[in-house]
């Protein structure tokens, strides 16, 4: 009789698989992202993280399975979905303001009508005074701020980021991670955050999806369990270290390696046995 009131997930990935010709990139990938939740995706290079994101936002058709965004199957890029790109994806012939406005002007909103929101977002990401600059006149970090502002301009319910800080130097990356978390605190949307950096995955994510294997599939989904707001001090907490060590081991763990995962691994696993099928770590 008790009715379980479940939040409808913003993103529902259901048994997703992708093949290029003969080659299967990933298979049987299922997970949800709830409203306001950040899910980090980690996995070795070439395991299909970008492909997965492109399937989620409708830039690409999966070979198997479906993606639902707000309960609706994704075929083409849906309304209310935004993406931030590794190389920023700014149009070099457009000013920063025009780039930030792009998600609106593409829908037919005039630059004039978009101006107030564009201004607000440019302020939010700290780019005031650069409205009329061209992307090549800005540093990488500033360009990605513009990329972020453009994404936020469409007021997305779903925001996916493909290694957004990978092309930046370490210092800029540190600053932008915290900036993103700060900005994130002011809005609520479901976010998928692909990264190669395990520290970044833990710092940003509420949960972490670990992809592994060839073809890859979900090896584990980790509950980070660090409350928001997070800051620089987050990385000095025991919980951060525990999660990071576990994820690090899970990602680096070679197929042939028999070393067991750390004993405190159970503390971070939320979807145990079903996904962990292969090797080593059950011996311990």
């Amino acid at each position: 009789m008790p009715t379980v009131t479940e939040v409808e997930p913003m993103i529902h990935v259901d048994h997703l698989g992708k093949q290029y010709g003969e080659r299967t990139v990933f298979s049987d990938i299922s997970f949800d992202v709830n409203p306001g939740e950040i899910v980090s995706i980690v996995g070795p290079s070439g395991c299909g993280k970008t492909t997965l994101l492109r399937c989620v936002v409708g830039l690409m058709k999966p070979s198997h399975g479906t993606v639902l965004v707000s309960g609706t199957p994704v075929v083409d890029p849906p309304e209310g979905v935004a993406m931030v790109f590794q190389h920023f994806g700014l149009f070099p012939w457009k000013t920063i303001a025009a780039n930030v406005a792009y998600g609106l002007t593409a829908k037919g909103v005039s630059m004039k009508d978009a101006a107030p929101r564009v201004h607000e977002l440019i302020k939010l990401v700290g780019l005031e005074g650069f409205e009329k600059s061209y992307p090549y006149q800005l540093s990488g970090g500033m360009q990605q701020r513009a990329g972020l502002a453009r994404a936020l301009a469409v007021e997305p319910g779903v925001l996916v980021m493909d290694e957004p800080f990978a092309a930046l130097d370490a210092q800029t990356r540190d600053i932008l991670q915290l900036e993103l978390l700060r900005i994130w605190g002011t809005r609520s949307a479901a976010m998928m955050f692909v990264t190669h950096s395990i520290d970044e995955a833990v710092l940003m994510g509420d949960r972490i999806v670990i992809l592994r294997g060839r073809p890859s599939s979900i090896f584990d989904i980790v509950d980070v369990g660090i409350p928001h707001p997070r800051g620089r001090e987050t990385v000095d907490t025991d919980r951060f270290r525990t999660v990071r060590d576990y994820v690090w081991r899970a990602v680096m763990h070679d197929e042939a390696d028999d070393t067991p995962l750390p004993t405190d691994a159970d503390a971070v696993r939320i979807e145990p046995q079903s996904h962990r099928n292969m090797n080593g770590h059950d011996h311990g």
């Binding site: 492109r54 993406m83 190389h87 994806g89 149009f91 070099p92 012939w93 090549y136």
Partner: protein, 255 residues
Amino acid sequence: MNRRTTRHRLRVLSGYVGGVLLGAVLWQVIGTIAPHEVFDSLSDTLARLWQIILDGTLGTALWTSFQTYLVGMVFALIIGAFGGLLLARRQLLRIALEPYAIALYATPMVGIIPFLLALLGFGFWPKVVVIILFAFFPVLLNTQRGAQSISPELLDVARVYRTRERDIWRHVILPYTLPFLMTGVRQSLARGLVGMIAADFFLSSDGLGGLLITASERFDTAEMLAITLVITVIGLALMAIGRALENHFARWRVG
């Protein structure tokens, strides 16, 4: 402007003027020594130039040539731009047509002119066709290369923000390709000039090339040199125009 750049500019300028002066002196000396049927001096050349300016011969020829050149270049530009875009974005078309384009590029255009003559006869349009054939290829090639080099990420951006297909052309592919197209235009301007002179040689007795031919038939070396000088100046001017166009449209390609 500080003193160092001023000094630098002065040096460049003096080198430039010195080079031109040296050339002029050499021309004058060689022209004076050499027999008139072979080469003529700078002063004779300039005098002859002044003459054909005054009697209107040069003006008429320039006007005729300019008309054919302009019409030919407009067509070359349109064919090159549309052709390049189509070849870049429609794979089937590219596979089907690229061999022809390459073959056409490899063929010395001058060799085609007699065929055109047989096919189309004399007059305005055959000359325009020759200019088009000379000039369209760089536009086509650069436009195609440009449109093909557009990063997939930018197309993803356009699609993820729900740009309609025809707006993707207008908002992304065309603006991205424009600077490449302009590089092609710069190269085409000079090739079109060559085409224009060549067309005149074969197809008419008017126009700049025609004037050149008749002068040579009269062994009027001074007039030949005068016309060549005019053609060179036009060529230099076209190059400058081309470069300015390219720079203007490629502002954002910096860095």
